[in-house]
């Protein structure tokens, strides 16, 4: 028998559960193996010390608390029955309130919308505005305004010059174009 086999089956030897052949082989191994002898000694001595430790004892109020718990054993189911009845009442009340609110929300009498009369809204065409062009004189301003008004009546997007006139990409050409027009007008 090897040390490994002995330790793997130590409980069989220690508690005398092995067959006679095993017990004899284990005893023979122990006689010749100081390590396994020490192993057995450590286990037995450790358990001896463990058994000598004082038994923990229950507290002074242990029995009183146990009596109290047993005395009230029947209270648990009664309380639960009372709680269920109470919760049923609460649930019924909640449903009733919800139903009342639903009736109030969908009642035709309560959902009549009040009649409100508002003044009609009149929308007028905005006044044309000239941005970024400064006329040389008041007369030129009046002429320019007249021309703008004519352009608006004709249709703002009908005049191809309008698209380029106010574009920053063609600012140079538009300035010269406006200067030419002013010269014509002048």
């Amino acid at each position: 028998m090897t040390c490994s086999e002995f330790q793997n089956h130590f409980s069989d030897y220690h508690d005398s559960l092995g067959d006679p052949a095993f017990m004899a082989a284990a005893s023979a191994h122990l006689d010749g193996c100081p390590e396994c002898r020490r192993y057995r000694g450590v286990v037995e001595q450790g358990v001896e010390v463990l058994r000598s430790l004082p038994y923990p004892s229950v507290g002074d109020d242990f029995l009183l608390r146990l009596k109290h718990r047993i005395y009230h054993l029947e209270d648990g189911p009664a309380l639960r029955r009372r709680e269920m009845a109470g919760s049923a009442t609460t649930t019924t009340t909640a449903f009733a309130i919800a139903a009342l609110i639903a009736v109030a929300a969908w009642s035709p009498v309560l959902t009549l919308a009040p009649e409100v009369v508002l003044d009609p809204i009149v929308v007028t065409r905005p006044e044309p505005r000239v941005i970024g062009i400064r006329p040389a004189s008041p007369r030129a301003l009046l002429v320019q305004l007249a021309r703008e008004e004519a352009m608006v009546h004709r249709g703002l997007w009908d005049d191809p010059l309008l698209l380029t006139r106010y574009s920053p990409l063609t600012a140079g050409r538009t300035r010269s174009a406006s200067a030419m027009r002013q010269a014509d007008l002048e």
């Binding site: 040390c3 192993y39 286990v43 001595q45 450790g46 010390v49 463990l50 923990p56 718990r69």
Partner: protein, 214 residues
């Protein structure tokens, strides 16, 4: 169990000394029969017989004395509620230890819900089951005084360090003196598993306490 009125509630202690002495001489089965026959004081006798023993077992298993007392209380409450359904052909001590063992295991399982604790427990249990059994004869011989002073503490720590399923079997065998069959019934394992766990528990125990023991 039928509901009892307050007048029929059990009364423990303070009763006739003679009746108490008679109960002390009965076996567990006879005390159980006396209780089921209507003798409320018989339950007090059962409590007195098993309170400290169960506390020792549960305390060594869960490691918390206050919690162990709560679990022992819970054990007796369950015994009180279900004693009428107890199979009297079986041993009462095995039954009450089974209840305690299940409560202790539930307690340990609830504690291990922390993911880190769970991982450490799984790893410790796996190593304890799969590590090759080995024994080294250390030459370490600490000072005698130091050794004696700390030996008891070391022994208690050694038991607490065992993996849970090893610890339960070890305590039931070495401290409570249960047989292998009783341990198998209490823990719900087969005989082979009990032997294997006990062997590994003893090996782990020996490795921890060896430096302190001659």
């Amino acid at each position: 169990m039928a509901a009892r009125t307050k007048q029929q509630q059990p009364r423990f202690g303070g009763e006739a000394l003679e009746h108490r002495r008679q109960l002390e001489e009965l076996t567990d089965s006879e005390v159980v029969q006396a209780f089921l026959g209507g003798d409320q004081r018989a339950f007090g006798e059962l409590v007195q017989r098993y309170d400290n023993r169960l506390l020792n077992f549960v305390y060594r298993t869960v490691g918390d004395r206050e919690r162990a007392q709560d679990l022992v209380q819970e054990t007796f409450v369950r015994v009180y509620r279900h004693l009428a359904r107890f199979d009297q052909s079986k041993k009462f001590s095995t039954w009450i230890y089974t209840i305690s063992s299940n409560l202790a295991k539930n307690e340990l399982r609830n504690r291990s819900r922390n993911p880190l604790v769970l991982f450490q427990t799984i790893r410790k249990n796996w190593e304890a089951n799969h590590r090759q059994l080995e024994w080294e004869d250390t030459q370490y011989k600490p000072d005698d005084l130091f050794r004696k002073r700390h030996l008891r503490e070391k022994i208690e720590q050694a038991v607490a360090q065992l993996p849970e399923h090893h610890r339960i079997v070890f305590v039931l065998r070495e401290l409570e003196g249960k047989t292998y069959e009783e341990i198998a019934e209490i823990t719900g394992c087969n005989l082979g598993t009990v032997k294997s766990r006990l062997n590994r528990a003893r090996n782990n125990f020996a490795e921890i306490v060896a430096p302190m023991v001659d």
